[in-house]
């Protein structure tokens, strides 16, 4: 009996099992940390705000923000704002991403087009959306179109740049394979250029998504009367700080959600990575 026990203690498999369990524990602990930190921050905020160590007029306690959130949710107001903003983000995102991919592929595949367009893109890219609002209004009015276009414009650049980079950086050997096996230009496009540039392109789309969200506030500064950006902006203007924080939390939440969704899409679209 005793010997058996002794044996099992020094059995390599048992030892590695123990090691593995220890690692699992550590892993759990790290997961815990991931949840802890937001909770910690929120608690700290609550405490500081309640004790007056930070100015509760500007940083109302999280529990009160949650209360406001709840009240706005119950009244249905929140869903209206969220719905319209999601629509704008989504439409603007698509309107930016689709031509960006098309133009990016063309630029990547045909170097004269690339040489012609790239200085324009490089020149337009650094101009902030905020500074372009007047021009967008002039061109597209103050309706939904201009908001969607604002978002589309800011999404366009990272996607087009990454698409071009994606095409250019396709390993030459795959082009050789395609040529060697007699691919026509349609097949070349759909079997080589598009899938080959997809990983880098999707990184651009991920960036575009982030930018779409960053832009919604600017887009909803003009001529809007609903939306999360409008909510933040008008709440702030009316000095309704809690409502403003509700808007900020919403943006943060959707930013997180969208990037998770796009990561999911990425693994779906790139099973070969």
């Amino acid at each position: 009996m005793k010997e058996h026990e002794r044996d099992s203690v020094i059995d390599p498999l048992q030892m590695e099992k123990q090691e593995w369990k220890k690692r699992q524990l550590q892993h759990r602990f790290k997961q815990l940390l991931t949840i802890t930190s937001p909770i910690f921050i929120v608690l700290l905020w609550e405490l500081l705000s309640r004790t007056g160590l930070i100015d509760a007029r500007f940083f109302p306690p999280p529990t009160e923000i949650v209360g406001t959130f709840w009240a706005m949710g119950m009244s249905g107001e929140l869903f209206h704002h969220v719905g319209i903003s999601l629509y704008r983000i989504f439409a603007g995102f698509l309107l930016g991403v689709i031509p960006a991919i098309g133009i990016g592929l063309l630029m990547g595949l045909y170097s004269p087009i690339r040489h012609f367009l790239s200085p324009l893109i490089m020149a337009l890219m650094p101009i902030p959306t905020l500074a372009l609002l007047p021009i967008i209004i002039i061109l597209f009015g103050v309706g939904e179109v201009s908001k969607v276009v604002t978002i589309a414009g800011s999404v366009f650049f990272p996607v087009v740049i990454n698409t071009v980079a994606g095409v250019i950086n396709i390993d030459r050997i795959y082009l050789d394979v395609a040529k060697n096996y007699g691919a026509d230009s349609k097949n070349f496009f759909f079997k080589i250029a598009l899938p080959g540039s997809l990983p880098v392109m999707l990184e651009g789309v991920q960036m575009g998504q982030a930018i779409a969200l960053l832009t919604i506030v600017a887009a909803e500064m003009m001529g809007a009367n609903s939306g999360i950006g409008y909510l933040i902006w008008t709440s702030y203007k009316a000095f309704l700080i809690k409502e403003m924080f509700v808007g900020l939390v919403l943006i943060s939440f959707f930013g997180y959600l969208f990037s998770l969704m796009l990561r999911g899409l990425q693994t779906k679209l790139l099973p070969w990575r």
Binding site: R57, F58, L133, P134, I135, I137, I138, L139, F140, G141, V142, G143, M221, M222, G223, A224, N225, Y230, W233, T234, Y236, K237, A238, F239, L240, I241
Partner: protein
């Protein structure tokens, strides 16, 4: 230090109060509007210097953005309009005060008034013709909204009869006129004049048609500035009012107009002296007095719209004592 009894002396550089012993900096938040004329003129003509006050201007795109800065004591004085946010801030315990006039309507040439698109001149003859039109207003639950509501009332319309378009920036209204996505707008000078000269819009009636006694903009003061640094704030107010008086002399009686226009081109984005002679003049009361009743009406409107959270003691928000004291020192302006 609270010096309750200020000594008035002809020998002081200002001709009244003695300069401060220590140079004191006062930070003014501005949005580059013409209604800041009093500040600009007082600064350029040395009225502040006379009191040993150093002025620092800081520009905000929007007057509401100034409120937190004002409440936090980052700026001492701000030019602002009455908005729900102002009263909300007070409801949150932020003790910002309305202390003097910084813009009201002046006879039939309001500086803040409705314009309509150039090509609609034939179609829109009367306020009631605005029915079904798209009207741009720069904010909700603020004086803009109030003027807009007064106009609707005057026209016998309700909000459902027109399309309210919120455009937070007056410049955007010009752009929107240009591409015909709005029909009318509550626009401000100098953009009214500029838009007219570029054939974007034309003035439509005048705001005094329906709101002759509207209080548009006010001087706001930070609580610490008004209540704790009374020696500074009193001198500040005196200098400001002197600036406002020069403004009135210039634009109403053509005394020293060129000099004042020079100052205005320097401090505002409108750089063309010619245009300054054409713009609708902002009414600035030389005694700093406001239409307090109108401000109260505005407040009541916001409150009725549920835009104000919490309890606000309206009278507490208005503090004209500093202005009154300054008048005692420099005398009333009568002309």
């Amino acid at each position: 230090s609270n010096q309750e009894d200020e000594v008035v002396s002809e020998d002081a550089p200002s001709g009244d109060l003695a300069p401060l012993e220590k140079k004191t900096t006062v930070v003014i938040a501005e949005d580059g509007a013409a209604s800041g004329a009093g500040f600009y003129i007082a600064e350029e003509k040395g009225y502040f210097d006379d009191y040993n006050i150093d002025i620092k201007f800081t520009t905000f795109a929007n007057s509401d953005d100034m409120l937190p800065a004002l409440a936090a004591g980052e700026v001492d004085i701000a030019g602002g309009v009455s908005t729900a946010s102002f009263f909300n801030a007070i409801a949150q315990g932020i003790d910002v005060k309305i202390i003097a006039d910084k813009g009201h309507y002046y006879d039939g040439n309001s500086y803040f008034s409705f314009v309509i698109r150039e090509d609609l001149q034939e179609e829109i003859k009367d306020y009631s013709d605005l029915k079904g039109k798209r009207i741009a207003v720069s904010s909700r639950n603020a004086v803009d909204d109030y003027i807009f509501q007064r106009m609707l009332e005057h026209a016998g319309l309700t909000e459902d009869d027109v399309e309210f378009v919120l455009m937070s920036d007056f410049g955007n209204m010009l752009a929107a006129m240009g591409n015909k996505s709005i029909d009318a707008a509550l626009q401000i000078e100098p953009l009214i004049t500029q838009g007219e000269s570029q054939n974007l819009h034309v003035r439509f009636g005048d705001a005094t048609d329906f709101a002759p006694d509207a209080q548009i903009a006010m001087v706001l003061g930070s609580p610490s500035f008004i209540e704790e640094e009374t020696d500074v704030s009193l001198r500040f107010m005196a200098a400001y009012l002197k600036g406002v008086r020069d403004y009135n002399d210039a634009f109403l009686y053509d005394e020293g107009l060129d000099e004042v226009i020079d100052i205005m081109t320097k401090h505002t984005a409108l750089k063309d002296p010619g245009v300054w002679k054409k713009v609708g003049v902002t009414g600035l009361d030389p005694n700093g007095e406001m239409f307090v009743d109108d401000i109260k009406k505005q407040f009541e409107m916001y409150d009725a719209n549920d835009a104000i959270r919490g309890d606000v003691d309206f009278d507490h928000a208005i503090d004209t004592s500093m202005t009154e004291k300054a008048i005692e020192v420099i005398g009333r302006y009568e002309r």
